[in-house]
Symmetry: none
Subunit: 217 residues, 4 copies
Amino acid sequence: MTSTAKARQEPRWERRKDDRPEQITAAALDLFVERGYAGTRLEDVAERAGVSKGTVYLYFANKTELFKAVVREGIVSPLTEARNVIDQYRGDMFELLCKMMREWWLRIGATSLSGIPKLVISEARNFPEIAEFYMTEVIEPANAAIGRLIERGIERGEFRAVDAVQMATLIQAPLLMLALWRNSLGCCRPQALDPAKLIDHHIEMLRGMLLGSAQRR
Amino acid sequence: MTSTAKARQEPRWERRKDDRPEQITAAALDLFVERGYAGTRLEDVAERAGVSKGTVYLYFANKTELFKAVVREGIVSPLTEARNVIDQYRGDMFELLCKMMREWWLRIGATSLSGIPKLVISEARNFPEIAEFYMTEVIEPANAAIGRLIERGIERGEFRAVDAVQMATLIQAPLLMLALWRNSLGCCRPQALDPAKLIDHHIEMLRGMLLGSAQRR
Amino acid sequence: MTSTAKARQEPRWERRKDDRPEQITAAALDLFVERGYAGTRLEDVAERAGVSKGTVYLYFANKTELFKAVVREGIVSPLTEARNVIDQYRGDMFELLCKMMREWWLRIGATSLSGIPKLVISEARNFPEIAEFYMTEVIEPANAAIGRLIERGIERGEFRAVDAVQMATLIQAPLLMLALWRNSLGCCRPQALDPAKLIDHHIEMLRGMLLGSAQRR
Amino acid sequence: MTSTAKARQEPRWERRKDDRPEQITAAALDLFVERGYAGTRLEDVAERAGVSKGTVYLYFANKTELFKAVVREGIVSPLTEARNVIDQYRGDMFELLCKMMREWWLRIGATSLSGIPKLVISEARNFPEIAEFYMTEVIEPANAAIGRLIERGIERGEFRAVDAVQMATLIQAPLLMLALWRNSLGCCRPQALDPAKLIDHHIEMLRGMLLGSAQRR
DNA sequence: GATGAATGAGGCTTCATTCAT
DNA sequence: CATGAATGAAGCCTCATTCAT
């Protein structure tokens, strides 16, 4: 609680404004994922962030705004990064696809960020604004990026002429499943799903679909 | 809870007595799916069921028990039915798989029953009892049934020697995605996902994986 | 407090719906007058009305609506009654004026209803809706009624040709003062103002103004 | 914000130290009048005074003390000044009375000081200390001064033998009404009351009462 | 002196649950 | 059986007050 204050007495490089908002949204993400929106008490968020109840209101107008901030913040950076990678990549598209799916697991699926999809799915009806935002800022860009990846593969003669829209969705389905699993039923059977194995098999299936029989090893 | 038992003592058919519990769970399912557990007021459930607030407590000890009843009831009948079909089926396994997936969409995915997975995912953490129940009574039986279907396909030389466990999961992922979509983000872009088309493509992909290149049409 | 419950066990004449709303607004009037709007806790209102905190919300959407109801209710009956008296009266107008001022003291000024003007004055800025309502429903009708009284007096040759608008205001000023006094500073010097005496002198002054020197006794 | 400081560097008589307390009480008077005691946030007072929230506590122990200071300060100077005028005046008393009432309107009634009576009336019950102070320091001295004015008029044969106590009250009532009007309902019907006209009529009425029929022009 | 970030007590409001009728 | 008025625990939010800088 007061440890942050002490840490700052020292010197020189100054920890700046303490990044209070980030501390709070980080704490809130954990609790929202764990207990849902309604089940999360702002007092608990504050406690986990190491601040008092009132401090939360210094940075977020109310619970709803905190919730929106959590979703936005958890999404912005990973998303833009991934789009850049796809658009700048030149080379074997299937390899890129595999790499990105495995990377996704390491950087999102296996982290607390995997809780965001659950959060959005759970609360979309109660927060149309969040749903709209997530559609526009996450789902549609992600679909578009994966769609471009596939079409690029088709253009360069690497992929068969599949329906890019449907494939983009099918590519994401098992990943979404893993993310949801980790943050819901996975709690009571942690070993029942093996993410690495599942992604491997998913890749094999995609290979068959995208590359055709000729290229199957 | 025990009142249902009594109501059935008498004659064969006779549905009598208004089926109050079913009316209530039906209303509750809609609202729980729409607003989440915490966001659903018992008063609204009562109103939608056409009864008074007090009546809900005549049949369900409290909100938690009502929630459990909703999940259990929404699951029981479709589940047992499906297992029977699979176990008794003799013939082309891929055909059965396709038929069941399409059937699933018609009988579950496109109905309000599709809200149950969302419900369970959203509230699993808050209701470990529900999570455990759903794992034991739904997920594991479903996985096992699909696993058997696959293994039967392998045994009869129809399918390639795939990992039945991973495949069972991969088969379900897009279906789960459709169910969740309908009950969350789908509200703000109803046309963005075409269930029939997606299932068609999913089937094509599975065909490639399970039957091998030789049998692709 | 619990006596209401006990009182109902008995018999016969049945207290009906218990008039909960009236009990609550009566309690609220006392407390709003005593402590102001913000200083009044709904819990105290509930306690004084002999109900629980939640019950208040059964009848009033929120504190603001309760406040409005208090003002409206405290005003409605006395107002309409007085207007009828004035409009139907035939005879000596000065006598009517005196009678009404003395009556006002007995029926309003000396009762808890005298708290309403203070309330409205204190909170007019925070509740423009109340201010508007009070202007339209109380101040303007009262001014109009008194204005008619004066003009009737002039027409029948009883009063001198005074400005009815200004006179209406001047007639009310000392009465308002008495009402405010009772509900503010009067608390710390209860005897400093003698209402009956003040009204008597006010009447003498009005007599001089309205009737002219000829009729002064 | 800092411009005030700069503007004062120059001149002769030096207003010293910024007069922070006065700036703060001036800001507080406006807000207390507008929103009432409870409705006024110290943060807003600070902002309007051009200082930080913490600075208010440098000069006033707490909100209550600030409130008391506002009332005291708004009252002290005008009051003592008026008493001196009355006590030193020699000449036509009715003329003095008229002049003072008209002066009162210009220097108090038409300024933000007119908010103080409303403030005191609104909060007297919550601040007995203020009520007591106001009674002792304002009401009683004012009544006494006006009482002396009247008695002096009687002694010099100018006024009829009226009851000085009642008359002092009656003289003030319309003025109080004007002050309250400006700070409450006047907000929603600014033109409904004409202060100058009302005071003129009030003076005519007082003339009749005090001077008797013989001297009416 | 001055600041403004941080605190936490306190009040409004909701809603699951009870119970007299 | 059924009702719905009543309850009160619990959570969101405000804002007077403090204090490290």
